[in-house]
């Protein structure tokens, strides 16, 4: 069973609003054990391997033979999980949007000021 759409691990991390640090696979088990010892993480090396090995599910038969259509897409289901379990990451989508709006607003203000100055020089 699977919903529609593919979600990459990197994408899932971003949707959860967490920063990501790519590590070579050999170093990841060492760093992982440090993090576990420091009680900062609770995932096993097996889980890491499971997550970093990409997979897709062919849902053709689920639709044609079983006649089942999932209500949510992969992304929607994951977002619901994030909402319920791990909100308020450092790079939370809402926070990023606030920053985006602030910069857009700032630039708009700047360019309109530049325009006013030009307009003044014309008059």
């Amino acid at each position: 069973m699977a919903g529609d759409g593919i979600l990459l691990l990197s994408q899932a991390v971003r949707r959860a609003g967490r920063p990501a640090l790519p590590l070579p696979s050999m170093a990841s088990s060492v760093v992982g054990s440090w993090l576990r010892r420091a009680n900062l993480a609770s995932f096993s090396p097996e889980q890491t391997q499971f997550l970093t090995y990409g997979r897709g599910v062919d849902t053709t038969k689920m639709r044609t033979e079983l006649g089942f259509t999932p209500k949510h897409t992969t992304a929607e289901a994951f977002d619901a999980f994030v909402q319920a379990r791990c909100r308020d990451g450092l790079l939370d989508p809402r926070r990023i949007e606030l920053i985006e709006n602030a910069i857009t607003g700032g630039v708009q203000m700047l360019t309109s000021m530049g325009r006013r100055r030009e307009g003044g020089a014309d008059g």
Binding site: G5, I6, L8, S10, Q11, A12, V13, R14, R15, G17, P24, G54, G56, L91, P93, I96, E97, E100, I103, T104, V107, Q108, M109, L110, T111, S112, M113, G114, R115, R116, R117, E118, G119, G120, A121, G123
Partner: protein, 314 residues
């Protein structure tokens, strides 16, 4: 607009707040740097960055990230295409505007830059701006960074399942059947086509009824003339070869700059396969003949293009 207004009226109207002055200047700078539609362009760029940071984008089931390819990866490669190799494209009308097709090309150049150039050629020169979905060797997917970039730019592993799935969904698929035998051949063997695998790509095209478009690439052979191979090191690293070129490794990183050869990419007339029927895909004689026909077409086109090109660099 009163004629008597002194030219410094604006300054009189908004008397000297140094912060405002600086902000106004900044605004003008932004507008001169980004053009009159600065607002919308900044907003567009920021929204792109926000979507990337928050994972709000889509990849298809092969990991192809269309937005990243169009907005980041292709613009990075395009200067090489336009100004360094000055790629000339011929017969782009032979690439179907829609539906499945299998583009088969010769492979050369030590590093597979020819596939990147073909991808740009198809996207930029074709009116339908199609994306070429490339088939890559398993080595490409074992290298860090390269593997991710290859996936994101639309490459998948050259295997029957993926090829047929792509063709079945009406994609334009690119394959370089010579593989490492092609890109890793010595400079003295340039433009001599190597063996075309076992014809697996032809079976896939026949099974899905996709036309085969032969594609001949001139110019890639000269970018890194391969004059030697550090075999022990290659074996140690598990690579097919560690190249020695006139500039690499002698000049260090500078040796990685490709020579600016003049490129011509010619797309030949498509060879239809839909009349052969699905069963023909399992007929070894037919597959062999068709493979040979594609190979011969590319080889002859290469020779014709070479005599026409004359100089390597012009």
């Amino acid at each position: 607009m009163a004629d008597e207004t002194p030219p410094d009226a604006a300054d009189v109207r908004t008397p000297a707040n140094p912060l405002d002055e600086v902000l106004e200047l900044l605004g003008e700078l932004v507008r001169t740097a980004l053009g009159p539609d600065a607002d919308s362009r900044v907003a567009e760029g920021l929204s792109f960055i926000r979507r990337r940071l928050t994972g709000d984008y889509e990849v298809d089931l092969f990991g192809f990230d269309e937005e990243l390819t169009e907005r980041v990866l292709m613009p990075m490669v395009r200067p090489l295409y336009k100004y360094w190799f000055r790629v000339e494209v011929r017969g782009i009308e032979n690439v179907p505007a829609e539906g499945a097709a299998l583009l088969v090309a010769n492979h050369s150049g030590t590093i597979p830059i020819d596939s990147l150039m073909t991808q740009i050629a198809v996207h930029d020169e074709h009116p339908a701006r199609r994306h070429l979905r490339m088939l890559g060797a398993d080595l490409a997917f074992r290298l860090p960074v390269i593997a991710d970039l290859a996936r994101k730019s639309g490459t998948t592993l050259a295997c029957t399942e993926d090829t047929e799935r792509l063709l079945d969904s009406g994609q334009l698929v690119g394959v370089w059947p010579e593989g490492f035998k092609g890109i890793g051949k010595p400079y003295t063997e340039r433009y001599k086509l190597q063996r075309f695998g076992r014809g697996g790509f032809v079976s896939a095209a026949v099974r899905t009824g996709a036309p085969i478009v032969p594609c001949s690439i001139v110019g890639a052979e000269e970018i890194y003339p391969l004059i030697g191979n550090v075999e022990p090191l290659a074996r140690l690293l598990g690579l097919p070869y560690v190249p020695v070129t006139p500039t690499f490794p002698w000049l260090g990183l500078l040796g990685l700059v490709p020579l600016p050869s003049k490129w011509i990419i010619q797309f030949g007339s498509p060879i239809p396969t839909d009349e052969l029927g699905t069963a023909a895909a399992d007929d070894p004689m037919l597959v062999f003949d068709l493979t040979d026909r594609v190979r011969e077409t590319i080889q002859h086109t290469l020779y014709a293009l070479l005599t026409e090109r004359g100089s390597v660099f012009r």
